[in-house]
Symmetry: C2
Subunit: 381 residues, 2 copies
């Protein structure tokens, strides 16, 4: 059994990244570290498409989400969270943990926030201090049209726009400065081809004003401390240096590939993969599916089968649904260090599993559909 | 030039730990992960000498310190911090960041808190809700007699005893349960032979009562969430899985060596190393030096020399002083994956550097003294 990882985080780590991770340990208050840190800083700005500083935290992505809340809000602020699944809900929970008055707007499961829907919300109440969005909701694979949503917010409100880009930055087009996004957070184990353990956060000038005036308690995630240390190409607290070595290599790979090419690759892979899944008679879960991962409905007749387990027995580790979506969907990632051949492999495994469950499939159909789609798409491009 | 790392964190990582770190990525909501997590749990309890749960955070040690403050205190609480250097001050800064009324008791630099001194403090004011201690103050190498200090606190106060064990757990004797310590925090890159990026925290039953009733805001570091997930051998947020693979291997090594043997090894190495340093005519900085690292005063006549740089040119990476101790001391670690031969190597390098600076030393003196001390100590033992 040859294992292959298709979970929507962690994603596979290239060997050249792993080899950097285990280079001899260095101390973090040295010129070697400062040079590493400066390179990472500049490459992260490229991936985030921002001129702002991008800070690297030793934490999971949730740590960067908490940093956004604890630094950019103050006790008397009002927040709006748009919640389309487990990770949107996390914004709401974080605001509540800090005692913030928060309007938690719940989308139906699998739904994405439409610009028009948000516009109506803001016309009724434009006075939010910050709006928390989830670019790609990993629990449903729902994606929002971030550029259009940001335009709507700019037209109707002065709120800070805070975006969970954990499974979007480095996969989907993200133009932080051009689109006027105030805060973007992400994490290492998704598009960034690294192990878990690092998170990223970048803030606009407008967001920095909120950081400076915030009266919420914070220390480890205090962005003022991070900014102070950044002037010396360093971190306020001990960084996860070995992971930074890996990140440095991964960012070099991403730079060489070109961020525009990466976005286009994932667009093509996502579209072709969904067509191939549908050609098997399966249904895509989300109304507006992301190119980061595909969430697939488990057909009623297969509810008794454990598709995730059967795929794992063939070596393909995919993710099930979370919370209320448990046993209703399964999710296959195409983020990060993933190419067309990886997706052909999992499509073949999925076909075999479906056939073993008595599902009517002509062998090779999905992989053929996938290749046809890719060919015609790149022909059009 | 052959590099050797003697900084008091990070410390060298064994090759077998590194090889585990880059094993194929696994997803963290799986049986494989739960098995890994359960093993780590049990081995950390052994190293902390506790029956309580030991939680692993994806953060630096400061994250675990923040978890201690944000979970174990409430808004109206009063705290006492004993500050003998940069890391003691961190407890005070953390309490202030959360708006806690804190008595920041400052020891002179290089001084350690004597049990009697603390007793006088507590007789004047026994009403603290928590007392924050630093077992080994890494910035000065000062160590406190934790067992005696804990006894004094138990006799005079009902305060929670919270201990920064970042450079003590796994080096110095630490008997959390037997000594009645309520909270112990530590981190991966010190005694635990791992890269930076993981922190640990354990709480007594008494501390858990404070956690449950705390009204301070917290989310990523919320210990109630950690406890909830632990029941399923998991973490509330994405763990730093690759580092956990390494930690699993490092803990196995520590188990095989035996925690009592590790404590005794470091006691012998520390004593012999300090004698050898003194035989060179150098002075130990702290009045009560730890066996985790040695802080050495830079002699007045060598202040113009950059000893740290000269040692680095010979391959030996040691640490300078921090803050007001910059250019006054340098620090050599003997924590973690370090044995007598590593210390012979750095003593030889130090001798060579001193001789090159015109310091009067007979070549080979320090290494000879070191070996004599080790031989007579183990003969006595």
């Amino acid at each position: 059994m040859k294992p292959r990882l298709y979970t929507p985080g962690p994603t596979p780590v290239p060997e050249q990244v792993n080899l950097k991770i285990i280079e001899p340990v260095i101390h973090h208050r040295t010129k070697e570290f400062r040079d590493l840190f400066a390179r990472i800083q500049s490459e992260l700005q490229y991936v985030f498409q921002t001129q702002e500083d991008v800070f690297v935290l030793a934490s999971s992505g949730t740590g960067a989400m908490e940093a956004a809340v604890a630094n950019c809000l103050s006790r008397s602020d009002r927040a709006l969270t748009i919640e389309g699944g487990k990770f949107g809900e996390r914004w709401g929970e974080l605001c509540e943990a800090y005692g913030i008055a928060v309007h938690r707007y719940k989308l139906g499961s699998g739904r994405s926030c439409k610009p028009k829907e948000l516009e109506e919300l803001l016309r009724r109440d434009p006075g939010y201090d910050a709006i928390f969005l989830t670019h790609c909701e990993t629990s449903t694979s729902g994606v929002l049209d971030l550029q259009a949503v940001a335009e709507v917010i700019h037209r109707n409100s002065t709120a800070l726009i805070v975006v969970d880009g954990i499974t979007s930055v480095g996969v989907l087009p993200m133009k932080m400065d051009e689109w006027g996004i105030d805060v973007v957070v992400s994490a290492s184990q998704k598009a960034f081809r690294c192990p878990t353990g690092l998170a990223f956060i970048a803030c606009s000038e407008k967001a920095w004003a909120a950081v400076e005036s915030s009266d919420l308690p914070r220390y480890y995630f205090d962005m003022r401390k991070m900014k102070g240390s950044l002037a010396n190409q360093n971190t306020p607290f001990t960084p996860a240096t070995s992971l930074l070595f890996g990140l440095d290599e991964a960012l070099k790979m991403m730079h060489d590939e070109g961020i525009g090419n990466i976005w286009e690759k994932h667009r093509m892979l996502g579209a072709a993969f969904r067509s191939a899944v549908e050609s098997l008679g399966l249904e895509i879960f989300s109304e507006n599916p992301s190119d980061s991962l595909t969430a697939i409905k488990i057909p009623d007749s297969l509810l008794e089968q454990n598709l995730v387990r059967l795929l794992k027995d063939k070596g393909c580790v995919v993710a099930g649904g979370q919370g209320e979506l448990k046993n209703r969907i399964f999710r296959i990632s195409h983020m990060g260090y993933c190419n067309a051949d990886d997706l052909s492999a999992v499509l073949s495994a999925l076909e075999e599993v479906l056939i073993s469950c008595g599902w009517s499939v002509k062998p090779g159909m999905a992989a053929a559909k996938f290749q046809q789609m890719l060919t015609s798409d790149s022909g059009n491009a």
